[in-house]
């Protein structure tokens, strides 16, 4: 079991949990957190290299590093792990954000120990989810990732934290309720006595009528986490109230679980229904894209702006997935990566700004560029990434999505593609609005002039993220190929593509 590298994505966090539990002071906690996340980052980087090597050497199984360990033998539930390019990309993303999140919560207060314990529990869920290919295990990790949010927001949050934490938890759990039913339904209706994704997908034995019933549930279940309209309202409140690292991890990684799940479970296992019912969700996600962007235009709280922006961007992820072709899906995964990184950057910066000015209302700030140029420049870069400036990650992802979406010739798809394209303008509007009000212009509050610029740990955190954002933006083909090679033909055989 421990010869499989993937298992260490869960083992390392568990060891981290133990280490933090035994830590006696802040320094030790930080050491454990940073060392652990570095180890995870190293592991995922190594995995990436090794994976590419294996693929180059001709390994053509849909998933590599497969491992199956029977868990509940009677139900044939296994701890099945395996990764393809998509999962590796996600693992990489998660470990980067965990690392930067640890830096971003360098001075977390109060209860630092508990904070990191919960944060790492959350990351166990995330990592576990991405390496699992057993529906049950996947779902379990999925839920593991959800619940620490409640405490993380509730204890360390700001504002209406209790309300938001509750709302977030309940809505996400509501989604997972649908999901659970759908997964059990898939298990029974596939008739394979197996929870293994690959086997179920290969057999494609779920009755079509049942697919039509189970697919919406699975999609909505994951879609809630992907902030699909109209189930997105947890996102603004939740993100606004969450502490920095949690916002980062949640928006950066957790929301990706939604998109990933929609793809891996809903569409992968029920292609027939996906084809038949895509239009419904296409409309919803298309609305998300524009709706989130428009909503962001009038918000005044930085985190709300970013949360609505996430609704828009994540909407684009789901939107692209529903286009059911390789290009759009590649774009979707790239958008996940891109949005994960840049939204984490955003939230990190917002947290840092908030830590200094103690307000997130853009009407009460201004001219920060003069006071804290480093943070302001980073914010601007994040903004540019968000509005899709070439050379940063947002652009390549969105373009791939648009080109891929346009590939789909249905009129409805075309119309919604064009509507979704409009989001690039609206995004520019709200991003520049914030940049203009917050960073540029004269200094609004004289008291702000004494504030300091970023500290070294804040710089570490932001620089890491910016480098990643730029790396994807400058060398997209590497990531696109990593993802695209993953779409083995069998995924699309039923879709006729």
């Amino acid at each position: 079991m421990f010869s499989n590298p993937l298992i260490y994505f869960v083992v390392i966090p568990v060891i981290m949990l133990l280490g933090i539990y035994l830590s006696r002071n802040m320094a030790q906690i930080r050491t454990v957190a940073v060392a652990g996340s570095l180890a995870l980052l190293g592991l995922s980087a190594w995995l990436l290299v090794d994976y590419l090597g294996l693929r180059a050497a001709g390994a053509d199984a849909p998933m590599l590093y497969r491992g199956d360990w029977t868990w509940f033998s009677a139900m044939n539930i296994k701890l099945s792990v395996g990764v393809d390019g998509i999962s590796i990309a996600m693992l990489l993303l998660s470990s980067i954000i965990l690392l930067t999140g640890s830096f971003a919560s360098w001075k977390i207060n109060p209860l630092p120990k508990e904070f990191f314990l919960w944060l790492i529990l959350l990351s166990i869920g995330v990592f576990g989810f991405f390496i699992s290919i057993d529906l049950f295990t996947m779902f379990m990790f999925y839920e593991v990732a959800l619940i620490p949010m409640y405490l993380l927001i509730g204890i360390w949050g700001t504002g209406r934290k209790e309300y938001s934490a509750m709302k977030l938890t309940l809505m996400l759990m509501g989604g997972s309720a649908f999901l659970m039913l759908s997964l059990i339904g898939i298990y029974y209706n596939a008739g394979l006595h197996s929870w293994n994704l690959l086997e179920i997908a290969q057999a494609d034995s779920i009755d079509h009528t049942w697919q039509m019933f189970l697919f919406p549930m699975a999609f909505v279940g994951f879609g809630v986490l992907g902030a699909m309209f109209p189930f997105h309202t947890w996102s603004p409140d939740g993100h606004a109230c969450a502490p920095t690292a949690v916002s980062m991890l949640h928006a950066g990684v957790l929301m990706k679980l939604g998109g990933y799940g929609c793809f891996r479970v809903a569409i992968y296992l029920m292609p027939y229904a996906a084809n038949e019912l895509a239009w419904i969700f296409l409309i919803l996600t298309g609305i998300s894209v524009v709706y989130g962007a428009f909503s962001a235009c009038v918000q005044t709280d930085l985190k709300y702006i970013n949360a609505y922006s996430s609704v828009s961007h994540c909407g684009l992820v789901l939107f692209a997935i529903l286009m059911l072709n390789t290009t759009a899906m590649t774009g979707a995964i790239m958008q996940m990566l891109s949005h994960g990184l840049m939204t984490a950057l955003f939230f990190a910066l917002i947290g840092m700004i908030y830590g200094r000015t103690h307000t997130r209302d853009i009407r009460q700030m201004g001219g920060l560029m003069k006071i804290m140029p480093y943070l302001a420049v980073c914010y601007m870069i994040a903004g540019f990434a968000s509005l899709g400036l070439p050379g940063l990650s947002g652009f390549v992802a969105e373009m791939t999505i648009f080109v891929g979406s346009f590939e789909n010739t249905h009129t409805l798809n075309r119309v919604f593609t064009i509507i979704a394209c409009c989001s690039i303008v609206i995004t520019a509007v709200y991003i520049l609005r914030v940049v203009g009000k917050l960073l540029l212009g004269p200094v609004y509050d004289k008291h702000h002039e004494e504030l300091t610029d970023a500290t070294w740990w804040e710089r570490t955190s932001t620089v890491t993220l910016i480098i990643c954002v730029a790396a994807i933006g400058c060398f997209p083909n590497f990531f696109a190929n990593l993802i695209r090679t993953t779409f083995s033909p069998e995924i699309f055989k039923v879709l006729g593509m």
């Binding site: 009677a74 779902f139 619940i147 409640y150 938890t169 509501g174 039913l181 029974y188």
Partner: protein, 491 residues
């Protein structure tokens, strides 16, 4: 006159022996020796529990008294599960029993607990309604006395009155139903009734009789609408008794319910009681949740939570197969640990400070981090949050419910149950919120809970953490259920 048949009933006999030993010890030993009464009883009972797992466990389905009594690995398994629960309850109650007001009655407490457990054994093993009734009464009547144990508390008496009056009423209804079943089938042996039910046409009389029987057992299980006593009794009863009532009594009743419905009326499953069960489950879960939403007394809160949990337990019966049965048993097992963890904390706090209200729990994490941690685990497990055992039991109970022939109605039922988990999560989180999120100064001062209580909590926490992740428990249960099943059917 083959009296050796008694030997089949190893677990019952063992329990009676423990009961008698405790009884004799309590009656005849000196005052000083009585100080170790609880220790001795727990050791005895512990031995019995251990025996239940190794030597007293039947290896195949065995019947005695012409099929009036049956035991099988499955039945032994559920009994073992109950034993474990009772053991924890006993350990948790040590501190309370040593309190000044209670010390004179601790012998009775132990004896009544053991004897009610005996009743539950009979309920589970009975394959004849007379024996079943006796078991049912033995499991509920002494409990009424237990509920009334808190002498100097008015609530305790009121609770006992409510409990015994409804209990007797429900047994009257139950027996009324039974008399009609007897009229239809001419026998009280489960097997013979089942054979008759299978051959006869479904008649109104059967349905009404079945409804009465369901009501009678549903009362013990506190299914809505037969549940109204639950909250009052749980609130009024001493906490140890409440925890006993909420897990052991409920667990045994759930299994007995399963036995009656599947073994006796299995033939009219899809015609009659499947639909009854749907209605009851939806009502139970929903109403339990809705009431739990606004409770502030912790015991009352857990009472309503346990009502909705009963609804989930019922989902195991809906499957009407071995998978469902295994899920039900596993659910009971996990539920025992989760609920006992919660009650362990409540009890510990109650014994130390007398506080029971949720508002008193505000800021508990600051003064008693470990207690609040245990409480949180219990709440998460009850809510079905992984990686705690509750998640697994919930998942399996849903999987069990859907394991039968697929029908949309079943999916809708499960969906409603799932949506209800959100409401339940809400109120479980309220407790967590009070303990962790509140910025108020803690009401409850820092205190050190008694050793026994701590042991109890450790055991329950270990259960909450391990029962799910360590797969052998569920695997074992499911294997047994699939291999042996109950008497006939369900294999």
């Amino acid at each position: 006159m083959d009296y050796s048949q008694f030997l089949v009933m190893k677990q019952e006999i063992g329990l009676l022996v423990v009961f008698l030993l405790v009884f004799l010890y309590d009656t005849f030993m000196s005052k000083r020796a009585l100080n170790s009464l609880q220790g001795v009883s727990i050791i005895f009972f512990g031995l019995l529990t251990v025996c239940g797992f190794c030597c007293a466990c039947p290896t195949a389905t065995e019947t005695a008294f012409a099929g009036m009594y049956v035991t099988s690995p499955v039945i032994a398994c559920i009994k073992n599960i109950l034993n474990v629960g009772v053991l924890i309850v006993l350990v948790q109650s040590i501190n309370w029993n040593n309190s000044e007001a209670q010390v004179v009655r601790r012998g009775e407490f132990l004896e009544l607990v053991l004897v009610t457990l005996f009743g539950m054994y009979l309920m589970i093993s009975a394959r004849h309604f007379l024996l079943f009734i006796i078991g049912l009464e033995a499991a509920s009547l002494p409990l009424a006395a237990l509920v009334a144990f808190e002498k100097n508390k008015y609530e305790s008496h009121e609770a006992a009155i409510k409990y015994i009056l409804t209990a007797v009423f429900s047994s009257a209804i139950f027996m009324m139903g039974l008399s009609y079943v007897y009229m239809l089938c001419g026998s009280l042996y489960f097997g013979e009734i089942a054979a008759q039910v299978a051959t006869q046409q479904v008649s109104v009389l059967l349905i009404v009789a079945l409804a009465f029987v369901v009501a009678g057992v549903g009362f013990k299980l506190s299914l809505v609408p037969f549940h109204l006593w639950t909250a009052d009794v749980y609130q009024g009863a001493p906490t140890s008794v409440t925890s006993y009532l909420s897990v052991i009594s409920k667990g045994s009743a759930a299994f007995a319910f399963l036995v009656i419905l599947t073994q006796v009326f299995g033939a009219v499953y899809s015609q009659v009681w499947e639909w009854m069960l749907y209605a009851l489950i939806i009502l139970t879960i929903t109403v339990g949740n809705l009431f739990a939403l606004r409770q502030t007394n912790m015991k009352r809160f857990l009472a309503f939570s346990s009502i909705s949990q009963a609804g989930y337990i019922m989902l195991g019966i809906v499957g009407n197969n071995a998978m469902g049965m295994a899920s039900l048993m596993f659910y009971i097992l996990v539920y025992i640990f989760s609920n006992l963890a919660a009650f362990g904390v409540i009890q510990s706090i109650e014994n130390a400070t007398g506080k029971l209200d949720m508002t008193d729990y505000r800021g508990l994490y600051k003064s008693n981090p470990k207690l609040s941690f245990v409480m949180m685990l219990a709440m998460f497990s009850l809510a079905g949050i992984p990686p705690f055992a509750g998640f697994f039991s919930k998942f399996f109970i849903f999987a069990g419910a859907l394991s039968g022939p697929t029908s949309i109605a079943l999916y809708v039922l499960v969906l409603i149950a799932l949506i209800n988990t959100i409401i339940s999560l809400y109120y479980y989180l309220l407790v967590v919120k009070a303990m962790f999120l509140s910025n108020d100064e803690p009401v409850i001062p820092t205190f050190k809970s008694a050793c026994s209580e701590r042991i109890g909590m450790w055991v329950t926490v270990a259960g909450i953490v391990c029962l799910g992740i360590v797969s052998c428990f569920y695997n074992e249960i499911l294997t047994i259920c699939q291999q042996y099943g109950l008497l006939g059917g369900l294999a």
